[in-house]
Symmetry: C2
Subunit: 197 residues, 2 copies
């Protein structure tokens, strides 16, 4: 068996998403074989992230500054709030370049199965932010899953009565989508909400 130090590192790496014990072992050996060219810079990069990255107290994004670079960017529309499930989804929207407003990270979606209720998510924080004024539009950019849409419905209920425009991402055939590879639900939705050309 390999040294306990190595076994412990393999165990911790194996708990990462997309890693298992086998790939973790390969990764550790790879790093030990490329100590100067890969292990050293990886250690430095991890320490950098560990020391410097903080959670933005306004939107929940992760950045080196608090408030984050999005919340503190005066060129972005502070009156538009896009509600996302997590930071990964926030970054995906940023990569798309589709949105120039600000965000609100919920921290998950409602799930009876996983025991996630409204009090486990940043729902009250969203209501407080809107009650604070200055918000014109709230865009729900939640996953198109049962749990994501349950959460969207719940939020729409809670946001009723506030003087804001409420919207959600449109649904349909994705760009490049082959019809015979799409699920029935998407096709039915795309038909029902078909638009005039």
């Amino acid at each position: 068996m390999s040294a306990p130090e190595i076994e412990q590192l393999i165990q911790l790496l194996a708990k990462l998403p997309a890693f298992g014990p086998r790939s973790a072992r390969r990764a550790v050996l790879h790093l030990l074989n490329k100590k100067e060219s890969h292990f050293t810079p990886l250690m430095a990069a991890m320490k950098n992230v560990y020391d410097k990255i903080v959670v933005c107290p306004i939107c929940g994004n992760m950045d080196t500054r608090a408030p984050c670079s999005i919340c503190s960017d005066t060129k972005r529309n502070q009156a538009q709030i896009c509600v996302v499930r997590d930071v990964a989804d926030l970054w995906a929207l940023e990569r798309s370049g589709a949105f120039k407003g600000c965000y609100h990270v919920l921290g998950g979606v409602l799930s009876a199965l996983d025991g996630v209720g409204p009090e486990d998510l940043k729902v009250q924080e969203l209501l407080d932010k809107i009650a604070g004024g200055g918000i014109e539009e709230v865009i729900l950019a939640l996953p198109a899953t049962v749990e994501g849409q349950t959460t969207a419905h719940y939020l729409a209920d809670r946001l009723e009565g506030y003087p804001i425009k409420l919207s959600a991402l449109s649904r349909g055939v994705p760009i490049g989508g082959e019809l015979d590879y799409l699920d029935d639900g998407t096709l039915q939705m795309a038909f029902k909400t078909r638009r005039a050309v």
Copy 2:
């Protein structure tokens, strides 16, 4: 886009085997979300491995001590040397518990395609070790691939004339192997080298 510190860590993680940019991003977010319970111990375990693990000057194994715990274990048979491609294969054999001798890590296999010649492997070190005396058997435990077997043939040639017993792992149907899932080469080999029952 996320902070440059995070992007740099994602880039370095994505270069690990079994990781890509997408799973690296998920791993970084996972670590940031579980800072106390996972990121902190992972950083400590990495530093531990980085600081303490050295390459054994005798066999090429990786351990906290040099010579490694296998080479310095007097209960193991120092007269038997098992030649393996890399440390991952050495650990696999150790996990199997099949062998109680010592090892010699070649550091790869011969490959015309990848430009790996005998001078890139620890071949001379193996010959020197045998010339030093005290070795009775050399077991070639190289992969059953074209390159692994080319390397085994090459080593058998180079080891001719030395007063040692030379052997190699047996080949055939693996335990639990369904015949109709096995490749033709394995079946042919298993037939050709069939044994009396």
